[in-house]
Symmetry: C2
Amino acid sequence: MNQHALEDVDVIDLGQIYNGAYGSLMLSYLGADVTKVEPPFGEPLRSRVADGDGEPPELVMLNSTKAGITLNLKAERGKELFKDLVRDADVLVENFAPGTMEEFGLGYETLSEINPELIYAHGSGFGEDGPKSDRLAMDLIVQAESGVMDVTGRPDDPPTKTGIAPGDFLGGIHLAAGVLAALYQRARTGEGQFVEASMQDAVYPSLMSQLANYYDDADVPSRTGNRHSSLAKAPYNAYEADDGYVAILCTSDDHWRALCEAIDREDLRDDDRFATNVDRVERMETVDAAIEEWTRTRTRDEIETTLSAAGVPCGSVQSVKEVIHDPHLEEREMVVEIDHPTEGEIRVPGTPIRLSESAKPDIEPAPRKGEDNDEIYRERLGLSEDEIERLRSDGVI
Amino acid sequence: MNQHALEDVDVIDLGQIYNGAYGSLMLSYLGADVTKVEPPFGEPLRSRVADGDGEPPELVMLNSTKAGITLNLKAERGKELFKDLVRDADVLVENFAPGTMEEFGLGYETLSEINPELIYAHGSGFGEDGPKSDRLAMDLIVQAESGVMDVTGRPDDPPTKTGIAPGDFLGGIHLAAGVLAALYQRARTGEGQFVEASMQDAVYPSLMSQLANYYDDADVPSRTGNRHSSLAKAPYNAYEADDGYVAILCTSDDHWRALCEAIDREDLRDDDRFATNVDRVERMETVDAAIEEWTRTRTRDEIETTLSAAGVPCGSVQSVKEVIHDPHLEEREMVVEIDHPTEGEIRVPGTPIRLSESAKPDIEPAPRKGEDNDEIYRERLGLSEDEIERLRSDGVI
């Protein structure tokens, strides 16, 4: 159990901001050696702190366990060094706008000639081809184009984004999955390939309930607040508690009867007008009002304890602060507190991918900008101290 | 290029509803042979159509290209047959509530004794351990517990779910990635392992902007509508058009100046009070009003055409119907129209994972319930017609 799934896999990581960086983080947590390569002025995330040189929490959270070097891909000497790095790498991850690597003269065709075993992974907003492939794509744009905004919010609200970044993270993990599939294929064929995953593509399947509504000709508004997306289940909502909200839903009539007993509404349990889900959907307002009458005077904890004991599906609406300190996520090491040189104590994500026979990630703080320049340029590329110093003064690294 | 990444990988798929079924769909699209195993009365999704025997669109969309058999895992003979199936399988995927397979006597320990090379993948709401592991976990519950609801909606709204199912799909693709990592590791070690991915874990990193706000001590509301999650960028919003909404944002001052020119507001471009992002954030209401004054009288198409030509990041808020028929997704074969035996013409998702040297999925309609019983029980398990008939009449298949 001391080995990792991706033992000896060497990843060059041009991933930046969220999308690419998350894909390579997952590879890193699976045991790959990931070297994050930033321009000398730092990847875009660093500009979120005043001097452009620092460690914003996003960067710290998405780059744990990676090594970090700087390299100017616009300089001729920088391009040469990059090719040297790629020459014996297994994987390259990047999420620049489509065409950027070709502009650097470092596109897939060039790099695959240098290293035919290279797995080259490109994450983007809209992918390599198709009429929207040139579009600038931040998560908000992808949320608009992919339908996420259309289906989020209350019926009378305008379309609403979701606070999470589904494009970046669904895109990033699909890209990592593509790399893993290509590694598996390469173990058989000995050949590398080009891998891509776009944010819009990756979000599409998650619209499943609304895709189904479309084919069911379901006559429901595109946005249903916290109610079921086709208004086909009751109870199903977030109910106000004394100290916040609790999500409660019933997927069976047994759940409903158990809920009625838990909230002391045996009268509803025995009322034929509420016996089946179809009945309850017809009287959704009454159902929701009855539940909220009970929840409103109780804390989320009381509600959760009572309903969980009764076997009714429920969950507190947790604040971000509560999620970061969720004892469940702590116990599972999905949040791990590290001591970062500049950020101090900060909780970074662990890995959602758990393998019983692969060692857990040994989470190290994200590299400071260029932290591993000396080591990697000296030991991996065999440069002398003098050469490294010259690269530094020439602005190549 | 006629081969698939997962050539010769054999997957037994107990995945149901969204989470597990999506994970195994991705494996199927990568070329694995996936056999969907349902109870004789069908997986839960089938109950969404009246006779419980049918093909709701969700099932059709998440089970393309799989084979389908029925098997009663509660019957002794069913357990035996299941063990026979697993004996020479590579992967088992399931997303039952934790403990269910152990109740069937078919837990990982039992199955890994029968087949030490088996990769056993379990998808769940909250994972195998930790205080919440026993919780019933539908996507809404996970959205509550993981913070998605807290960060979605306008500041004055209650916490709001997102219309997509982030728990199911982020969980499902992380599970598939775990399987791929385990396959790669097995190619080296020859041994299988237990893989898990929970929905809450998988959602956690996608809360990145809010996790960062927490550490930045950013004094912003937890919900910011369509504005930037830390109210740190302007313009950044969904603006009303004549026929809907368009998302527009500027990540640089160049974007801002280009936008001002495109909307004929050179006065704003030249106004020092709006020169930098910090300035514009201070005057966010004015900025948003100026843009919306222009967008409101134009169609989404006009706005997109004008702003894209000016190099300003933007995207129409598309309805679900528009997304399903998006020419971009069509050209990329991310939506593929198939002719399904009972559903007729229906558009199913393609794969977000693109590999240049692995054949594209050859998308076949999802199996009807038990469609491949005869073939698989006869050819794979060597049963006679009589035996298969008896299994059928005994309710085992």
